[in-house]
Subunit: 279 residues, 2 copies
């Protein structure tokens, strides 16, 4: 089977490594000729080119560009593809992408492999990046069943745990467990830096240890990623933020009013509920 | 030098291990006779007893009980101590403890070794727990300089990084980097569990990965510890929570109003500021 990959960064590159190792013939496209050269060198693709034309005879194409470039990539791709060619993407937000891309290409299957690394770019590509990770597929009523089955089969071969979900439910779920954490974690750093007593700020910076490190980690990450989440999943992030604020206000009220039994109950519940979230 | 330790849990036990290894003679006190037996067995103390009387001839006493028992321990100890005996504590909140304990014993030095582990109790005691960690000493204008110097010298021998601070500044600094993270992290778990669509909650629980794990870690910890922080550092935690809410409201507003440049600027600042917090 011949597979195309557009965008040869961490995700596209890692996908290429695995697919080639699985025996697929892989065609890679990147805007940069140097990245194309490295893709062949690193065994990420059998052939690579800046020209989307390279993919015209592939059976399935993974669009692994940033969110903002997915739809425009489809616009450039579709004029020369056969209608049976499957296009799938790896974007971390699905509702807007799936709506737009399904209109551009009937044979579109929305996907979100939930793997990553702090590193970016083709040099960060690694084998087995998707093994054991969640891979969400987000079909709609119009998604061709056979194409869904084909993408599912490929994702299974990568060793991923497959979940099917509507684009809407996917976006709200990732708002809770991925996008909201970024915002509340960024808020922690922002609030600490707002301490107006320089002695206290300086001491806080020296005393910060594992609790602060972990809680602030995703808020200190790549700003472009955080911005994309907010732009593309705005409505769902806002819903999560508003509900989060109610939780925070409840905790604050209990401390203010010294309702210690109520605070203890929340903390017991959070301790008991945390293990229900896989990771 | 003869040193007493009251409370032989993780902190008191680990302190005993290091002090004995450094050549101090260590006397341990725990309410439970079984813990006293283990303390001698594990080389945490040379002698141990449930009776505070054991400490009457020591030069310095580390009170390593939970916060709620520090002052009452001093009340029981002080009647039979020589006035030159130094008492220090290891409580994670200092203002209320230092105020109360300085009245009970003039020769009191507030301290907070910022080391820990997920485990508790004497069996979790470990050598070198304090090596490389911060150890804050919180003298007041009335703290005898010689006693402060002595406690500082012992803490240095443990391999700690020593910081001096007022009790007030210490409490606000730890509210920022230790207590606030617990509350905002607990709020994350609480808010997620409040999702009223069971399909979304179930999917969120399956998709949660490292970002959620890290941001929710301290909010899923020991409820008694979280409750103690809130009770003993109530005023400072409330100040941090109120300022945190302003940061969160600002982020929410920028997303609501699609002020993407402003949101990007916050996320760039948090990325740049995060490394200023040691850990």
């Amino acid at each position: 089977m011949e597979i195309g990959i557009v965008g040869l960064g961490l995700i596209g590159g890692s996908l290429g490594l695995d697919l080639k190792a699985l025996g697929f013939r892989v065609y890679g496209v990147s805007r940069k000729p140097e990245t194309c050269r490295r893709a062949v060198e690193l065994q990420i693709a059998d052939q690579a080119s800046p020209d989307l034309d390279l993919l015209k005879d592939t059976e399935a194409i993974f669009v692994c560009t940033p969110l903002a470039a997915i739809a425009s990539t489809l616009e450039q791709l579709t004029p020369f593809l056969a209608p049976e060619t499957i296009i799938t993407d790896v974007g971390s937000v699905k509702q807007s992408i799936v709506t737009e891309c399904s209109q551009l290409w009937a044979n579109f299957v929305g996907g979100h492999p939930m793997a990553g690394s702090a590193e970016q770019g083709i040099e960060a590509a690694q084998k087995d990046l998707f093994r054991g990770s969640a891979y969400v597929l987000t079909p709609t009523a119009n998604t061709p069943q056979q194409s869904l089955a084909k993408v599912r089969e490929i994702a299974l071969k990568l060793g991923s745990r497959i979940y099917l979900s509507s684009p809407e439910d996917h976006d709200q779920a990732v708002a809770w467990i991925s996008h909201l954490p970024v915002m509340i974690s960024a808020g922690l750093i922002d609030a600490c830096m707002g301490e107006d007593n320089p002695d206290i700020l300086s001491l806080a910076q020296k005393l910060a240890s594992s609790g602060f490190r972990d809680t602030s980690r995703v808020g200190g990450g790549n700003p472009e990623l955080g911005l994309m989440m907010a732009k593309y999943n705005r409505e769902k992030i806002l819903r999560s933020l508003q509900n989060y604020r109610l939780s925070l206000d409840k905790i604050t009220k209990y401390i203010e009013e010294q309702r210690w039994k109520d605070l203890e109950q929340i903390l017991k519940n959070t301790r008991d509920n945390k293990p229900k979230f896989l990771h």
